[in-house]
Amino acid sequence: MQIRINLLPPEYRKKEMTPLVTLLPALVAFTLVLGGGAFWAWNHFGALARVRSENEQLQQGWATRKAPLEYLGNLRSEESDYAARSKTIAEIATSRVPWTLKLNQFCDLVADDDGGDRYLVWLSDFQVKKPQGNARRTKTKVGESIAIEGLCFSDEHPLNRFNQFHEALQQHAFFADCTDINNPAGQAVLMEDELLPSRAWTIKLDMQMKAREPKRKGSGLQADAKSK
């Protein structure tokens, strides 16, 4: 076996290459690190920046829409407010009972007595009261109530005359706006004066008027819309 001895001083010897076993992994590691760095750089300065910029643009876009949305909200609020006012005015306008007409009708009814042959009525009291009861809890709304007191004269059949008056009242135009009336009741009385007829039947009638329906549903005065 030959033994080779290099007698050249080291500075004259041929340089030895780094062994591949060392070099290759180093190169691979270097490449990987560079690659990782490049990917990171691309990701950070490319994709992330793009996404960030898109997001910022959208944020700006959103910011510009805030004012119109607030304006829209105010418009909606005013719309519902005015719609409620419009409904309220309609309710107010239809809430009125034409008492001139109703009282006139009632006077016609009382006066239309065939000269006393049908009935002869003298009223002492006529009272109209506001609708009673808690209309919000009950489904059925009620109208005004009317209470009438008086006397129905007849020497022979005062109850019969009163009954005729009661019937005539229910058939009259005056009663068209009423829902119910109490049944004929009362008592016979003898008048203490010298006028004729001297006998009479007491009149005490209670009637309920129909509630006036506004054009749209609602309860009470809802003039102000509740904020959403």
Binding site: A47, L58, E79, S86
Partner: protein, 493 residues
Amino acid sequence: MTLKNGNTRFALICAGTAVLGLGGFGHFTWTDMDRMEDLDQSTKMLEGKIRTADREIRTIPGLEDKVLILREQVKEYVTILPDDAEIHAFVNQLTRFETESGVVVTKLDDTQARQRRSARRPSSSAFESITYKLTLRGTTQQLLTFMDLLENDYDRFVRIPTFKVQAFDDRRSGPQVADEVSRQHSIDLELETYVYNPKKRGRGHVTIPNELRKLERLRDDGKLEVFASDVALVRHEIEASPNRRDPFVDPRALTSQIDEEERRAQRDELDDLKSRFQVLRKALALEEKETNLVKRMQVADKNNEFLSTLAADVNGRVDEQFFTVLELAKEFETVVLGPVGQLQAERGGIDAAAVLSVRDIEQRVADMEKAARSREWGQVITLHDEIKQLRARFTAPASLRPVSARAEELFLLASAHRAFDALELVFGGSVHYRDDPGKAVVIISGPSLGPNSLSFGPGEVVCDGLSITRITSTEVVFDYSGYEISRRHGTDR
């Protein structure tokens, strides 16, 4: 050996650096990816919000229109409600109604109205209810008149939520009260109205850009037509029934006070009024049949005078409440008062001369139609002048407008024909092609066309305002200032 060691160290350094480097970049990359994911989510959310916002913002113009329409609507609707000044003056109105109706207001409670006036802070609601409480004295008829003035005469919204009538008590006053007029009942009633506060506390109108222009556009599109009947106050005209008995007065007291002699006197009076009315009716029937214009006017004047006298007597009986017997009062209302009132209304609007002139005008327009059909244009113009003279005598009622319009049309047609005739056009000859009427030609001469005859075809202008519409084998149809005039040319083909 050295090399190996060096290489080992080198390898270790490389490996360590690689691990550190890769680890660092990996971490940063992972952080960035995480951040990107968050940003992506945020972006998606923002995109969704922006899409929704854009959709809603697109509804703004429509909503602006709606709000403007609602504002105008409410503004129109609230005219039925009194404003602040009217509320303050409402008590003056009540005083006027009191005087006109004859009731006597013994108490007026306007506390709520005064409180509202002195309140410093504006109300938080758009509508404020204000109530007045009144105590009155009056007969039933006076009460009805008072209510009628409130509900039908006063043009603002007022309602009566409650009222009470307590009949006059004869027993308290005794027999001294002789007549129904003095029997005044005691009446309590409430009057309620509303005041509108357009600007509530803390809320004002939204400022809409270019509001005036948008309102103008809505108005032009007809979207601001408010149907006021939606909230029009329902009013009822009641007929006065002065002779109807008061239901709050003892009916026995009325009938028992009337003796036989008085009853007879009322019967006689009623018969007299009825017979006078019958005479008037007959006279009116004769007036209709009178053909002579002058005589008809004289008879009409006489009848009107008779009617006035009769009406004055009838109204006098009403004012005096002459007919106290019920059946006679009813008969008086049905047979005399109502018909006389109606007749007065019919004849009272225009005087006799005007009634007669209307008939003459209508007759003349009929004559104009006849003359136009016979092409007597001179007669049409003469009749038109007569109509003008008749119309100068009185203000024309609305019913005469269609007739007058027709008279004008006929007059203009006749004038056109007369003007055409004045051109004195003469036809020299014509050529007509059966298959192609558009190529027809007619030769016309006349003072307005110069010394020579000229040929014209359909559609050509002959002179100012005159053109040829078509040429047939027998006639030429012209258009003269919008009127179609045809003339036979009497020439051979």
